[in-house]
Amino acid sequence: MTGYGKLNIANTTLGRAMRRPKGMIAGAWLVMLVFVAVFAPYLTPYDYDIQNLPNAFTPPGSEHWLGTDEFGRDLLTRIMYGARTSLTVSTIAIGISVFCGMCLGAAAGYFGGRFDRAVTAVVDLTWSFPEILVALILVAIIGPGVTGTMVAIGVAYLAQFTRLTRAQIMAIKSETYIEASLSLGASHGHILMRHLLPNALAPVIIAAMLATGDAIILEATLGFFGLGAQPPTPSWGGLMSSGTAQMFKAPWIIIIPGVAVAVTVFAINLFGDALIHALDVRARVRES
């Protein structure tokens, strides 16, 4: 057997995405970020949670590259650990969202009918609401903290993925190869798992990628409102939130995490762009 219907997106596509200069720079930043997040304890001599109050508000310098915060903790260290929180929260939240959205969207798109109409109506309505509002209300219900934030972000983006998956499924459903498969005696399960979902995956992956960027911003915004990860666990939003009060005394406390968020989200978007090109079958033909 050859690899029948196997997922062949990840390996080759990532490679292709990385080959474009934009994708490479963006990819490099993301890889570095993940590396830093994972190995934070080995990369920095400081602790993220041990306070050193006399040392508070040290401006960026040779001792503390990015300065210290209001408790005298090294800001670079906290940003590195913050990357852990922000990246985990946003990827897990989007993961939840993608999974549920794909299930819902696929079911709605494939089986259609009343279920589809109900799903579409709800999804369209929530989709029109800003994610931040949905998330704020959900956090109010679930309670702040990492779990609450993840669930809230996940639900906030659910509509987007349901919509997207449904649209994809609807489009692919009318392709002749689905009918061909049916004419050979394929079951619904086969059609869904082997044709519809794999083919719908590429745009969903890209959307998920871009949404992860948005989710980082959303996480930061919730953190800004004090609803994100609870101290002393650092998150980028939390850092900015505490930085607001120190904006004049120590502007770096708010500026630097914001830059980290912006650059990361920017990199994710660039990488997403590169992925779009890499995943586009027609473009691939043109390149070869």
């Binding site: 690899g3 002749t176 190869y177 005696g185 394929a186 086969h190 794999p198 033909v285």
Partner: protein
């Protein structure tokens, strides 16, 4: 005449455009009361203009969609009444080749995967060498097994489509305009391949096309459809047309012969929409020989060796 391989009786299909909360639902009869028997080894052609229900008919015959009315018996078994599991087994015996070779292959499946799919969905293992065998049968190099569809030309894709249809050794194949989107030179290749396969494998074909010239060359028997209904059944390809529509179709086919130029067309007017058919003969609006009766009552297909549905056949 022995028991036909496929026996189609008063098959109808009504499509409903979903009415939303805001739209009135509408419905159209895409296929109306079509009856047809196909004997083993037969090549039956179905011609008609775009939108007259040919593809719908093809899908009905293989029960890819459920008919509104009527039945399809395959070797005596009524497909419309079969249970899901039995139907799936039955699908090994029949297959379909599709119109658009560009969308009939999953872009993510290599040729080998596409050819293995029939076995997979039937829960079987792919017999050794079967894929190479199939490729050879349709005239493709075996090295092509590892190619993706986007690396193939239209003709090559259509060959893969045919190979996939042949994979489970079916008796009966429905070919829905298999050459409509191909170049004439490739069309001829594919037609000759299909013809040769029919002879070699003793297949039965239902061949759908809008090209009367091609159907007359290729088929033993021709069914002419107009707006979902059969208007004429030509018992042999060279039979003279009796329905004015068939006649017009024939006259519209351009013969590749500059010395024999036709300079008139008989047909004027527009094909009515299937959603609101006028009463009477559906062809009345375009028919050169139309009478008052045509506008009032619907002609039925006559009995006999050369059935036609017209009040004043030629």
């Amino acid at each position: 005449m022995s028991e036909p391989l496929v026996k189609i009786q008063t098959l109808s299909k009504r499509f409903y455009t979903p009415g939303g909360l805001l739209k009135k639902p509408r419905s159209m009869l895409a296929v109306r009361d079509v009856s047809l028997s196909i004997a083993r080894g037969d090549i039956v052609g179905v011609v008609g203009e775009s939108g007259c229900g040919k593809s719908t008919f093809a899908r009905l015959v293989l029960r890819l969609i459920d008919p509104t009315d009527g039945s399809v018996c395959f070797e005596g078994a009524d497909l419309t009444k079969l249970r899901r599991r039995d139907l799936r087994k039955m699908r090994q015996r029949m297959a379909m080749v599709f119109q658009d070779p560009y969308s009939s292959l999953d872009p993510r499946y290599r040729v080998a995967d596409a050819l293995a799919e029939p076995f997979v969905v039937q829960g079987d293992r792919v017999p050794n060498g079967r894929i190479a065998d199939l490729l050879t049968k349709v005239g493709l190099p075996t090295s092509m097994a590892q190619s993706y569809p986007h690396q193939l030309s239209g003709g090559q894709r259509q060959r893969v489509g045919i190979a996939r249809a042949l994979a489970l050794n079916p008796d009966f194949i429905v070919l829905d305009e298999p050459t409509a989107s191909l170049d004439v030179s490739i069309q001829a290749q594919i037609i000759s391949l299909i013809q040769q396969l029919q002879r070699d494998l003793d297949l039965t074909y239902l061949f759908i096309s809008h090209d009367l010239g091609l159907v007359r060359y290729f088929c033993n028997r021709i069914v002419v459809m107009y707006l979902g209904a059969v208007v004429e059944e030509l018992p042999d390809p060279q039979a003279a047309p009796r329905h004015p529509y068939t006649h017009a179709l024939m006259a519209s086919t351009f013969a590749p012969d500059p010395t024999n130029r036709q300079d008139t067309t008989e047909l004027t007017g527009e094909i009515p929409s299937g959603f609101d058919l006028p009463p009477g003969c559906a062809f009345a609006a375009r028919c050169p020989n139309v009478t008052a009766r045509c506008r009032e009552s619907v002609p039925v297909l006559s009995e006999g060796p050369h059935p036609v549905a017209c009040f004043h056949p030629l």
